[in-house]
Symmetry: C2
DNA sequence: CGACGTGTTGATCTCTCTCAATTAGAGTGG
DNA sequence: CCACTCTAATTGAGAGAGATCAACACGTCG
């Protein structure tokens, strides 16, 4: 079944979207929820928040942000240096959690901006604790999701730290394609939405805009992919994976090269 | 006061170290534990594991690793590409958690190696769930710690993606110094242990060994720090912070530079 | 229509990598 | 005590991936 169109639904008790329809539910960990757990989450939900494209959900340095869930649309987390250099930490797609990291005092917080029109589910700040207290299962899932989010950042760090520009871009395209395709019924056969500008790609991979453009074009000219009208088409996944050094990611490596 | 010698303690019920002595307890979140929580943790603890320096705790790709806590010593998490390029994801000091991320199926796992002789606390694999089930407080703390760990990786990603070699190294030295100093009574006045080789620094910052050496020497010659006999001395924190662009980390940045 | 954002391409420039060689210390064995 | 080996640190030189600078094309929008 294709993604349902954004039509107005009969308003629910608290928010506009019933938690039963939340994209989060599609995640493997959340499929076995009891009704109690549903109503618990629903009771913690404060409201929905709609933002346009390229707007700011959380300002960098903001520490009092509530907890969010991304219902629809794309967004990204980022940090910047004093002179404006920006690093995108991760891209957020429907179903992603936002703001768990913000609660740490000492560590400087990151900002969150939207890439597209987006709908967020807003939770009270202490929902995290409530969730843990009233449902260990849900609490466990939160931990799991947080750890999973970190593993995404780990992968990016590996890319940015050790992969060439070409490898990084191939890697990013594959990863984003997979994540976006998983949200669609056709699995990406007709492409997936790709709302990033090349500047976003550059900032996500620690590259300059110009070099990002040139590398992107090179891959496209080689027939590995195609980006047009805000959509990404994977034309040669095999070749793309090969140029990403994807296979060499996490496998027992031939370390002692000598 | 120098690092206390690793003397043998009277053996406890389960492991060799009473959980009441665990370095984890020093963390802000853990100071208010009830006796129940202590005994819960103690009951989940399986044993202690001692490794020498430069040994492997968790192999890359290993998915069945138990949960660990680092009691004493230094270690690091890493990933490698197929041709041997390695990226260190984070450094682990006493009190750090290990293995929460390993439980995710799809995401490729990372390896964990020791830098020094180290003592780990070993927990059963399903301790994570047990902890959540039997103590929401502890479960919440786990989530908190996981999120905190991610914020460390976020910072590294910002460095590797957007900081120059000099800035990266300054940043790493400051961060490691702070963490190590926090574990000592003198707060680092007499330096802190620094068991990393330059190769580790390079792998942690996405730099080559040679360039790491040259940059390190430059900072040292400039009088910002000094590394000798496996110890790090911060000679000019202010200047070090300045060259790290530390101040510009997370503050509301002057984005619109135009 | 001009201003602006995004994408594209060519021409330098430079930071960092790679290659190579040397030094110093720790360990080992004769 | 000394030759031999290994690892880690160091330094110089040359090469290159990617950054910076500069222009231009194209579409949208007020």
């Amino acid at each position: 079944m294709p993604t349902p169109p954004l039509q107005t639904r009969p308003t629910e008790i608290i928010g506009e979207t019933a938690c039963g329809d939340c994209p989060l539910r599609r995640l493997p960990l959340f499929i076995n929820h009891t009704d109690d757990e549903h109503s618990l989450v629903q009771s913690l939900k404060q409201r929905e928040l709609r933002l346009g494209a390229m707007e700011t959900l959380i300002h960098e340095g903001q520490t009092d942000a509530p907890l969010y869930t991304l219902l629809r649309g794309w967004a990204f987390r980022y940090k910047t240096l004093s002179d404006g250099r920006r690093q995108i930490l991760s891209f957020l797609l429907a179903g992603d959690f936002i703001g768990v990291q913000q609660k740490m005092a000492d560590a400087a917080a990151h900002g969150v901006d939207t890439l597209t029109d987006a709908v967020f589910c807003v939770f009270k700040r202490d929902s995290l604790w409530e969730l843990h207290r009233r449902s260990p299962t849900m609490g466990f899932n939160i931990t799991w999701l947080t750890a999973h989010e970190e593993s995404l950042v780990d992968d990016t760090l590996l890319s940015v730290g050790r992969r060439s520009a070409e490898e990084r871009i191939a890697m990013l395209l594959i990863l984003l394609f997979k994540r976006a395709a998983a949200l669609q019924a056709d699995g990406g056969a007709a492409g997936v939405p790709f709302p990033l500008t090349q500047q976003h790609v550059a900032d996500g991979l620690g590259l300059s805009l110009v070099h990002t453009n040139k590398t992107l074009r090179k891959l496209e000219r080689r027939g590995l992919h195609r980006i047009a009208d805000g959509r990404l088409f994977m034309l040669d996944v095999k070749a793309m994976a090969r140029t990403a050094d994807l296979y060499g990611d996490g496998r027992p490596p031939p370390r002692p090269l000598v």
